[in-house]
């Protein structure tokens, strides 16, 4: 092994050899977080323009009473797609994209922990977004509102493909949201640079950690809801049909279980930008770091207890309404804590008013106004008046534009030199801000009034003589001013690539590590990974960018050809292992193309083709999982430098274990939503029907659960022996586990086939069908993964020297065990004790 060089250029060349991005069509194989993050941002920007165009159409139509630029269904498509595009294709991916770009750099890591997953997420987002938006061109866009309330969205009332575009397209896009969520959680917890303890990481990372966790828990209820509604529309399974025992309100619960956390999923990264920028422009540390972290965590928890405040008019019992009313208002406290901690920092600092600071002041005014109207609509009697009026449209735009768009613009101007290496124009930047700020307030301030004097939302036109004409015209004029402002910003950004002054090193004198990379950054971020023991590494050691580039810190070996970054302790940030990351790969692109094919074939109802795509996708994903650990394409050679920790695949606790854990949290959120639906229907559905007799064989289901219990116990013994460093009998042991898994799966299949379910006739049977299918899919997956482990033991990728993978698979076994027993309990003892059949 040669002595590492200290010449930055030479080091760069060596690192670029391993990390560099290919050009041309091979650029599709890039998995690097910087490239993926930028792609997210650019794609999100494009979808923002589409959503904005739809908003312009809406405001044009409403400018005058009785004006019909679009016919009613076109208008309904426009407002449905405006909300859908802005929420799912702009706000969430944009914030995730920025986090994907920034998080590793802020934490002093070289990449996110699952680079191929980043790429898969991006392509799913891109293809899903294109499928969804293409429906506009085909005049087949969804038209039941972005909330898709049943029964309006059901096949009986809207038979066309319109709503299928929404259900399938959004679910496809959500793969991206959830995978980025999982990846961000694990990256933040496990890849911080040496010494960066949890209480020392940048506040932005805290915000993203909570946001990502919220995505992981918050999106699955909607994914479940979308699957159920699509099964109802395409397969006739009546989950939301009152006549067959379902309940349309169940859809609302599932939707808002997602929908309310969604608001904070969008707002928290925005607030994270605010918390990052204020100290930089005040040139002093943020005051009240702990207060802010506490506030963010509180918001994360509270936001899951508020969803019913979107449903105050559906006739929920009053006691429950009062509870949700109070809980909704409580959010004002952790939000207030942050606002006043920012205020205290401004109070003691000497803020410099660069363009990002303008956006921050704009954020404060707009967001506080939105928060105050939020407290108002949390009051039940007032909500009964203004719910579904333009007052709520105004409120929600104040919160979302104030809480997300304004901070995003502040962040965009702040990090622009990082993306491009050039500074934006101050003059155009100011114009852009003032036009957007003025246009926004002209549009939406008056809209509160429009709502109070009685104008409902989602109406394609209105009569004159109700006092609505002038406020609507003002709103429309304001919206065009705002559009000019957005165009100005766009122009500024485009021009800056050509005319912007080159950025100096750390141009804002920031404190966080992302400014220690070169501008624009290279694919590997840092040649050497510095130890960090302070919340403000760049203020403590302004020379850090240079010393990093000279390779004066750690993990500088590259001649093994592996992409490596630290794996650290989640609490203390002490280095525990070296995480070796996969390089560029076609697999994510291929997998997402196949998933797009699956989505399209479901949309066009070619179910056999869909089955084909499912199998192909599965094969590609398994192939992907094959190139891990001791596989020649990953890390066949486990040698590390003396004094350095082992490779993660040679330990028992790598990022994959954490990735599996966080994924199973998402999965359990979906399963718990299904159980919630089951209990909800039993207790609340107005015409709940239990078939007079059932062929569901409880003892067979019990037998399946018992076999799975034995299998899991066996798996546990095998892994325990592996932990002790012995792989004696591992091959035979895993083979037996796979056989037990298969037997249990077969028993479960027998239960399903023998149950004589009539899922098209009653909601009762439809839910049981979905539950059993869920268990079958998961147990089948556990079988396949265990078989693969058997093969990997045989080939030698897994064993006492590389004991990592069975530990990961074991987690899935535990999960399935919990799922199957839960299903047994709710299907067999519960109905009989509750008084059913």
């Amino acid at each position: 092994m040669t002595q590492p060089s200290t010449d930055p250029d030479q080091l760069h060349d060596q690192f670029n050899e391993v990390w560099g991005n290919p050009r041309g069509w091979r650029a599709l194989t890039i998995v690097n977080h910087t490239s993926i993050g930028l792609r997210f941002l650019i794609t999100g920007g494009a979808f923002f323009l589409i959503g904005g165009l739809l908003a312009m159409l809406i405001r044009t139509q409403l400018a005058l009473p009785g004006y019909e630029l679009m016919e009613p269904d076109a208008y309904n498509q426009a407002f449905t797609m405006h909300g859908t595009v802005m929420m799912f294709l702009f706000a969430v991916p944009m914030m995730e994209g920025l986090a994907v770009y920034l998080i590793p750099k802020m934490l002093g890591a070289r990449d996110l922990v699952f680079p191929r997953l980043s790429a898969l997420g991006y392509y799913c987002y891109l293809f899903g977004g294109i499928i969804l938006v293409s429906s506009l061109l085909l005049d087949l866009a969804p038209k039941a509102g972005w909330f898709m309330y049943t029964p309006l969205s059901s096949a009986g009332h809207m038979p066309g493909m319109n709503n299928d575009f929404w259900l399938l397209g959004i679910t496809f896009v959500e793969i991206s949201a959830v995978s980025a969520g999982v990846e961000l959680v694990v990256s933040i917890l496990r890849t911080r640079t040496n010494g960066m303890a949890l209480h020392q990481m940048p506040l932005y990372a805290w915000y993203i950690l909570v946001m990502a966790m919220m995505i992981v828990v918050g999106f699955p209820p909607l994914i479940l809801g979308s699957i159920l509604l699509e099964l109802e529309r395409a397969g006739g399974l009546p989950f939301f049909d009152v006549a067959r025992g379902g309940d349309p309100i169940l859809w609302q619960h599932l939707f808002w279980l997602f929908g309310h956390p969604e608001v904070y999923i969008i707002f928290l990264p925005g607030a994270g930008i605010v918390s990052t920028l204020i100290p930089v422009f005040c040139q002093r540390p943020i005051i009240g770091y702990r207060w802010i972290v506490l506030g963010v965590l509180t918001i994360g928890f509270l936001s899951f207890g508020l969803w019913v405040h979107h449903m105050f008019t559906v006739g929920i019992p009053q006691l429950a309404q009062s509870f949700f009313s109070g809980a909704s208002m409580l959010v004002a406290i952790p939000t207030g804590v942050q606002i006043f901690a920012w205020l205290a920092t401004l109070w003691l600092g000497r803020p410099v008013f660069h363009v990002p600071m303008l956006w921050l002041v704009g954020f404060l005014i707009v967001f506080v106004a939105g928060g105050l109207t939020g407290v108002m609509v949390a009051l039940v009697p007032f909500d009964w008046q203004v719910h579904d009026t333009h007052f709520v449209v105004a409120h929600m735009h104040y919160v979302l534009v104030g809480g997300m768009f304004f901070p995003l613009m502040a962040g965009l101007y702040y990090w622009l030199p990082h993306f491009s290496g050039r500074m934006p124009s101050v003059r155009l930047g100011r114009w852009g801000f003032w036009l957007v700020f003025a246009g926004f307030n002209i549009t939406f301030l008056v809209m509160h009034w429009t709502g109070l004097i009685g104008m409902p939302r989602r109406v394609y036109t209105y009569d004159t003589g109700l006092g609505w004409d002038i406020p609507n015209l003002i709103s429309s004029i304001g919206s065009f001013i705002m559009a000019i402002g957005v165009a100005t910003i766009l122009l500024d950004i485009v021009l800056h690539f050509r005319f912007g002054l080159p950025a100096t090193k750390n141009p804002w004198n920031a404190d966080t590590l992302e400014w220690a990379t070169s501008l624009p950054p290279s694919a590997y971020n840092f040649v050497s990974l510095p130890d960090v023991s302070d919340r403000h590494p760049l203020w403590k050691d302004p020379d850090l960018p240079d010393s990093i580039a000279r390779g004066e810190h750690r993990l500088t070996t590259i001649d093994h050809g592996r992409r490596e970054t630290w794996g650290t302790d989640p609490l203390t940030g002490k280095v525990r292992e070296i995480i070796h990351l996969p390089g560029n790969s076609w697999l994510p692109f291929i997998a997402s193309v196949l998933l797009a094919g699956l989505c399209l074939s479901l949309l066009t109802k070619f179910y056999l083709v869909a089955l084909g795509f499912t199998v192909l996708t599965l094969i590609v994903l398994l192939r992907w999982s094959w190139e891990n650990g001791a596989h020649p394409a990953a890390a066949p050679d486990a040698k590390t430098q003396p004094g350095e920790p082992p490779l993660h695949s040679r330990t028992l606790d790598g990022p994959g274990l954490w990735g599996m854990g966080v994924t199973l949290i998402a999965n359990s959120s979906l399963f718990l939503s299904l159980l919630f639906g089951w209990f909800y229907l039993w207790t609340v559905a107005p015409h709940w029907q239990v078939p007079a007799s059932t062929d569901l064989d409880g003892s067979l289901l019990l037998a399946s659960a018992v076999v799975l219990s034995l299998g899991t116990l066996w798996m546990r013994l095998l892994v325990a022996r592996l932990r002790r460093g012995s792989h004696e009998g591992l091959f035979g042991g895993l083979s037996l586990a796979a056989l037990l898994s298969l037997a249990q799966w077969a028993l479960l299949l027998w239960v399903l086939l023998g149950a004589g379910l009539k899922p098209r006739e009653t909601t009762h049977d439809a839910v049981i069908f979905v539950m059993l299918m869920y268990a079958l899919i998961h147990c089948g997956l556990a079988t396949v993964l265990t078989v693969l482990q058997v093969l990997r033991v045989r080939i030698g990728y897994v064993g006492a020297k590389a004991p990592y993978e069975p530990v990961v698979v074991e987690q899935l076994w535990y999960y399935n065990l919990a799922v199957l027993w839960a299903i047994y309990l709710v299907l067999v003892p519960f109905p009989s004790t509750w008084g059913g059949a």
């Binding site: 309330y149 009152v242 349309p248 207030g336 600092g349 004097i453």
Partner: protein, 334 residues
């Protein structure tokens, strides 16, 4: 120099707030022009909340801008923590907590007046409202009166509206009387409202219900008790015995009558009851004034006037027949 625009901003914000306030609160559908005790309570809550929120918004924004502009002296880190704690606890915890407690204490009771709680000694009127895409079915069970797209109420008497839907989710809302409640298939929700003064108000569906959601308007009229009793009595006895003459009569019975009911003649129940059609203020659920000219236009062009509605086109009916039907429809009133 940067604060120039900020100062202008404050000025303009205040102006922008004032302008709509100067505009009248009046309007047939305005929550701020209450015509009943429930709506009045909510309007009052709104004005209080608006005042307090305005002060908070100006206060917090002003503080931020002042904090950005002031020239601070250097403080030690311990004092910084103290200053921060003062701000965070005072502004971030105490301020919202007090505001929330006050709001809940004064605000929540307003909702009780809209709940169908038992009222000792007072007779509550029960009216059933069923939403359809895109019209309103109204039943007065005490008087076995069925009508559509018009709501007539007695002044000064609490009314329980029992609402449900025949198809998708709608929402029943007469802003000048009070809050809204959703009309959900398979469920019946109840809301109690009361008109304190006679007059004409406007209700509108406020849950998105499909293509013509915007055209689902409910004209409401509050009349004094005696007039209301007379109105009910007249409709209770309303029965017709004669269809239009000749072909028009057969056609009405065989086609229109499949969906529309006219007491004594046809029994359809999928479309608005036509028994007192001629006495209603509007056609097409608030779309057109109800007069001879608009009635004829509606019969011919209803799919252009309100596209997607469930009534089939009448292209094949000769003008003369349609005219006879129209003339007969104009007689359907007490």
């Amino acid at each position: 120099m940067v604060f120039q625009p900020l100062r202008a901003l404050v000025k303009w914000t205040i102006l922008a707030l004032a302008v709509p306030l100067l505009a009248a609160c009046e309007g047939a559908q305005s929550t701020l022009d209450p015509a009943g005790p429930q709506a009045r309570q909510v309007a009052l809550i709104w004005w209080w909340m608006f005042g307090v929120a305005g002060v908070v918004l100006v206060g917090v924004s002003g503080l931020w801008i002042y904090a950005s502009a002031r020239k601070p002296r250097d403080v030690g880190s311990e004092e910084a923590i103290r200053i921060n704690r003062r701000w965070v606890i005072g502004g971030g915890i105490l301020l919202p907590t007090i505001a929330i407690v006050l709001l809940l204490i004064f605000g929540l009771p307003a909702g009780r007046s809209m709940l169908p709680l038992p009222l000792p000694g007072e007779q509550v009127l029960r009216i059933e409202v069923t939403g359809h895409q895109w019209w309103w079915e109204i039943r007065y069970p005490d008087g076995q009166v069925v009508t559509a797209n018009q709501l007539v109420l007695p002044v000064g008497r609490p009314i329980d509206f029992h609402v449900t839907s025949a198809d998708v989710i709608h929402s029943f809302w007469v802003p000048r009387l009070g809050g809204k409640v959703d009309m959900i298939p398979g469920r019946t929700n109840v809301i109690r409202l009361e008109a304190a003064q006679p007059g004409r108000f406007r209700g509108q569906c406020s849950e998105f219900c499909g293509r013509q959601h915007a055209r689902m308007i409910l004209p409401v009229e509050a009349v004094d008790a005696a007039e209301f009793d007379a109105w009910i009595a007249a409709r209770r006895q309303l029965v017709f015995a004669r269809l239009p003459d000749g072909e028009a009569g057969d056609l009405f019975r065989d086609r229109c009558g499949q969906c529309h009911r006219v007491a004594g003649l046809t029994d359809g129940d999928r479309a608005p009851d036509l028994t007192d059609l001629a006495s209603r203020p509007t056609l097409g659920a608030g779309l057109l004034p109800n007069d001879g000219e608009h009635l004829r236009r509606w019969l011919r062009e209803h799919q252009e006037l309100k596209s997607g509605n469930a009534m089939p086109l009448h292209d094949d009916i000769p003008d003369a027949t349609l005219e006879r039907i129209a003339a007969w429809l104009e007689t359907l009133e007490p």
